[in-house]
Point group: C2
Amino acid sequence: MAIIFKELLKDSKSRARLGELETPHGKVETPIFMPVGTQATVKTMTPEEVKEMGGRLILSNTYHLYLRPGHQLVRKAGGLHRFMNWDGPILTDSGGFQVFSLGPLRKIEEDGVRFRSHIDGSEHYFSPERAVEIQEALGADIIMAFDECAPYPCTREYAVKALERTTRWAGRCKKAHGREEQALFGIIQGGTFRDLREISASQLLELDFPGYGIGGLSVGEPKELMYEMLDYTVPLILEEKPRYLMGVGSPDCLLEGVARGVDMFDCVLPTRIARNGTVFTHTGKLVVRNAAYAEDFTPLDPECDCYTCRNFSRAYVRHLIKANEVLGIRLTTIHNLRFIIRLMENVRRTIKEGTFLEYKEKFLSRFNSD
Amino acid sequence: MAIIFKELLKDSKSRARLGELETPHGKVETPIFMPVGTQATVKTMTPEEVKEMGGRLILSNTYHLYLRPGHQLVRKAGGLHRFMNWDGPILTDSGGFQVFSLGPLRKIEEDGVRFRSHIDGSEHYFSPERAVEIQEALGADIIMAFDECAPYPCTREYAVKALERTTRWAGRCKKAHGREEQALFGIIQGGTFRDLREISASQLLELDFPGYGIGGLSVGEPKELMYEMLDYTVPLILEEKPRYLMGVGSPDCLLEGVARGVDMFDCVLPTRIARNGTVFTHTGKLVVRNAAYAEDFTPLDPECDCYTCRNFSRAYVRHLIKANEVLGIRLTTIHNLRFIIRLMENVRRTIKEGTFLEYKEKFLSRFNSD
């Protein structure tokens, strides 16, 4: 068995739960946020820095690594762990989401998707079998089935077609998957239609994957609608399976996802906004680029324990970002990732203590006060 | 006294010497290479990283900090050390070199230089008094007199005018300088004219600065001519004064400079070429961007002890650089700076052991073999 998931504790007042996920590269506690290392690097960070701030399980990207440097090169390097010098667990997505995001550059067929590289326009083809083959070459601990992610909004007809294809492709992925030490997760689709989510879940549960992604959310729909879909979808997944909400990483969505029983999350948001000079604080987001912080010699967030907040001021970080200095986006990235990772540490602690809902409400009342 | 310099040991076969420079922020051994932190950050690096690789004394830039974030802001932050969280010694240049490099954007007068900002075109004025005032606000341990750096090539007439003005400005800097805990260095000019170097040195020595920069070299002249100028100029400076060759940082020039009695060096070269994907190795420079290294899983330099070489391959570094990932230029910067800092460690060790010239020849025969 590639992974072993254990539910350790259920929150009595919500669907939140504490879990443990054992992988070939070590155990992690859930709920967990996975920093994203799209191109075999968590942007701006060394592996040691990610670890120091509490990062345990990272995500990397099949579509990007296939195009550059190429999965065969990564295989020759000894796999992704060795190539990027990360000895903890890794999850790779299937490339499905990226390929479908290419819009006019891609064409969906029953067998797979024809697409053009966003880098050089060259033509490529991903099928379920190919997505598995690439992910096997990369060698992550957890790999994802190749799915069709319907956009938001979309018609019921489109959502039905996408979910049915996703199920057929999930079956093909399972069949193609050979490396037993890797866990292959299925992805539940169904758009924002409750009954379609039920159909997708039941079809994928029949295929008996060791874990499930919840896909097709956080694609532009209102947050309330996403929460509603989680209310419906999460309970459909067997308790012994880890549940992974794909593409979610804002503090409020993480807390609402945990409260609805989600175990795993990933998102580029914390690192992406960091590079634009926006940082999380306990009282909401702060655009440190703004002139208001030019002579502010306090830390980004006085309550934060990250390297940046322990050593540098808003004025200095702002100066670096205005001057296009790399250290500026390093410092904001460190801060934002640590902020989210610490939030998840507090989530796990308060689930243990039985105070998760109180923590969540208190955090959100301050975070959303602006 | 702001700094105390001691010559500890003379090499018997060259002008190389081992020294110790005591500053308000600690002692450093010489000969030393100073990493450049133009905008209050050694590009891409944290202060801890610079320290870990053996960086002890760093240089920052008056012109750049004056324009952005402004010296008054740095003063309010508690000075440059505190602003950038560097507790070791700092040297600031006077801004003279940058202002003169602006070409058509500046106008030299006897009182000072009128110039336009390279950032927004706004008009500014630097005089010797102003350069000292700004450097006092920044608060470095060693500050430099405001000088006129003649270009190469230039006429004898131009070089005479520039050196005479440099002397007058040096006197004004000395008069304006009030912060006793800062050491103000004079800068010797004179272009590539032996007798003018002698005149400049004797005039500046009369002003009795605690240390001397050798300016106007490494501005495009052939290396042999620079070495010749050092042969003439260094012996003119009293033994008890540290000698600082400005803007020099290639391995061969560092070794030749040390052999001619230079104690201090700075240069953007190691960090600048790093950002273009070029790295030093013991057998010469290597352009790791090149396709030849796509599947090369060996370190940048197998003989190097830096973080990059201990943990990552040429193939990975190349991938990061090709993919425009910040970690790529971080890793090449770490490598190049460590390469130069280690070179200087070996220089000091071999001066102690009496084998400096042998070390130099052996190093250069391999480094220049390509």
